[in-house]
């Protein structure tokens, strides 16, 4: 059965199933959607995923959404190296950390990322065109989120809270990686794939909080993931300067 993945850059949610598929050695057809050009809200894509969120994956006639759930699907449905630990307690820990990242840490990272990086570049577009693009977003929650992101409607408190969470999250990652070789246990797992997508640019985006002195375990873990052939192959699918930041993880790069 054919596998088709609809994705943006190897970054955040899109990068999770991309790296998982490549780690498993699953051949897939890649459909690149430009998130910042709102390709995901265009009619041809809404036919695949009416919610207009990316990534989405089709496997034969099956349509799958939600990046973290897709990762577990891919791990179970295909041959190749297992990306969930054998120990049931470690499997629980993989899921706990993925939820913690998806619902607590990643939204804080993305609030900061949008405010300083993505928002300003999107706002250079024609305002009328931008408004029309927002109006086309099918899910009301996503419409509110995009509106906030594009027009930088984050309050000072919200930004401070996101910065607090990012700092605490970095400490917690450092603590976890100082206890175990990989995020959830003794083997490389979906938790590492999820976290790498969130954290690969940390030494550039949060240089004061994450560096070789303050977070040596995070840095070594990032470099170990970066050096995996599947990571190299996946990040080579990126088209923008944003994901080229991954090169900071070359040993001796900084």
């Amino acid at each position: 059965m054919k596998v088709v993945l609809y994705h943006w850059e190897p970054n955040a949610n899109s990068g999770k199933p991309m790296l998982t598929l490549v780690e498993k050695g699953v051949e897939f057809e890649s459909h690149y959607l430009d998130l910042l050009n709102f390709d995901q809200h265009k009619p041809e894509y809404l036919k695949i995923n009416p919610q207009g969120t990316i990534p989405a994956m089709t496997h034969g006639d099956i349509v799958l959404t939600e990046s973290t759930a897709i990762m577990e699907y891919v791990d179970q449905a295909f041959e190749g190296p297992r990306l969930m630990p054998d120990d049931p307690v470690e499997r629980w820990r993989v899921r706990w950390w993925m939820k913690f990242m998806d619902q607590w840490l990643a939204p804080s990272f993305s609030m900061i990322g949008w405010s300083v990086f993505v928002g300003p570049s999107v706002r250079e577009r024609d305002p009328e065109e931008l408004k029309a693009a927002i109006d086309r977003i099918p899910l009301p929650e996503r419409r509110i989120a995009w509106n906030k992101a594009i027009y930088n409607k984050f309050s000072a408190e919200e930004m401070a809270e996101s910065q607090r969470r990012v700092a605490l999250g970095i400490n917690k990652l450092e603590e976890a990686l100082s206890k175990r070789p990989w995020l959830a246990g003794n083997s490389y797992s979906l938790a590492d794939i999820n976290a790498f997508n969130l954290a690969y640019a940390l030494p550039l985006s949060q240089p004061d909080l994450s560096n070789d002195e303050k977070t040596p375990h995070i840095m070594e873990w990032l470099r170990k993931v970066y050096e995996r052939p599947a990571t190299q192959k996946t990040w080579a699918m990126g088209k923008t300067a944003m994901v080229a930041r991954v090169k900071i993880l070359e040993r001796g790069a900084n």
Partner: protein
């Protein structure tokens, strides 16, 4: 394998884990703690990352050979994997994906909405009856800044109108989804699963608190009776030490900060 379950009254996530334990016939030492008095934060492992920062808020903790595990649906998944009897997840990779997608929907929509309405109706009055110094001291023990903030909002009875309206809106989305899922089957995912226990745990007291969401939802109402009458759920409910376990609430997950 030594297993201890620290649980609250059988409602919400505590009900989910208790009922799963009984469905799977897993032996565990059951220890009741008063989640609604912040007792979870006095446990020896309260400051462990996976306990202190659990997205679920004041949920149960299953300790397996010294490892404290939180987030009821994932604990239920663990019990399903190690316990006896038939699997409580639909088969194959697609079945498992279904459980995970529901879990995300519950965590982002149902759980924050139910927690808002449940704590507003039942926990806020309870805290109002305690001295301010006592409540402040309880909140001061909480390691997570955002969870402590949610407790403070309950203690101050601070429920902005738009948050209440948003909670009712989210519950309507939930019952639309359950009604659709139950169109041709008795259970949400075909056969009975941990998703039924998860959704029921959060939903049990909502017909009282968000009646409009249940208008014209005959299938959901019948399904709730079906879940409630399962021996595992009855056994969990029999552990209640208060008259109405569904009126037992402690702060759950937050509403998405992205609106």
């Amino acid at each position: 394998m030594a297993m201890t379950l620290y649980h609250g009254e059988p409602n919400g996530p505590s009900l989910t884990v208790l009922a799963t334990l009984f469905e799977k016939g897993v032996e565990a030492d059951l220890k009741r703690i008063d989640l609604a008095s912040g007792e979870r934060h006095t446990l020896p492992f309260a400051k462990d990352t996976e306990v202190a920062l659990s997205i679920e808020g004041e949920g149960p903790v299953l300790v397996v050979d010294g490892t404290p595990m939180t987030d009821a649906l994932y604990v239920a998944m663990y019990l399903d994997e190690i316990g006896g009897g038939p699997s409580l997840q639909p088969p194959g990779a697609l079945g498992h994906w279904d459980v995970l997608v529901w879990a995300r929907f519950v965590a982002e929509r149902l759980a924050p909405a139910a927690s808002t309405l449940g704590t507003r109706a039942y926990l806020a009055p309870r805290l109002a009856g305690r001295s301010k110094a006592d409540v402040d001291a309880m909140i001061a023990r909480i390691d997570s800044v955002d969870l402590a903030d949610r407790w403070r909002a309950v203690a101050a009875n601070d429920y902005p109108e738009e948050q209440v309206a948003d909670s009712h809106r989210k519950l309507k989305l939930v019952t639309e989804r359950t009604e659709k899922a139950l169109e041709n089957s008795d259970w949400l995912l075909g056969d009975f699963s941990i998703t039924d226990l998860e959704v029921y745990g959060w939903l049990a007291s909502m017909p009282l608190l968000s009646a409009a969401a249940f208008a014209d939802t005959p299938k959901t109402k019948a399904w709730m009776e079906r879940v409630k009458s399962r021996p595992s759920v009855q056994k969990a409910l029999a552990l209640a030490t208060i008259e109405e376990a569904t009126q037992y609430w402690a702060p759950g997950p937050e509403h998405s900060r992205w609106g």
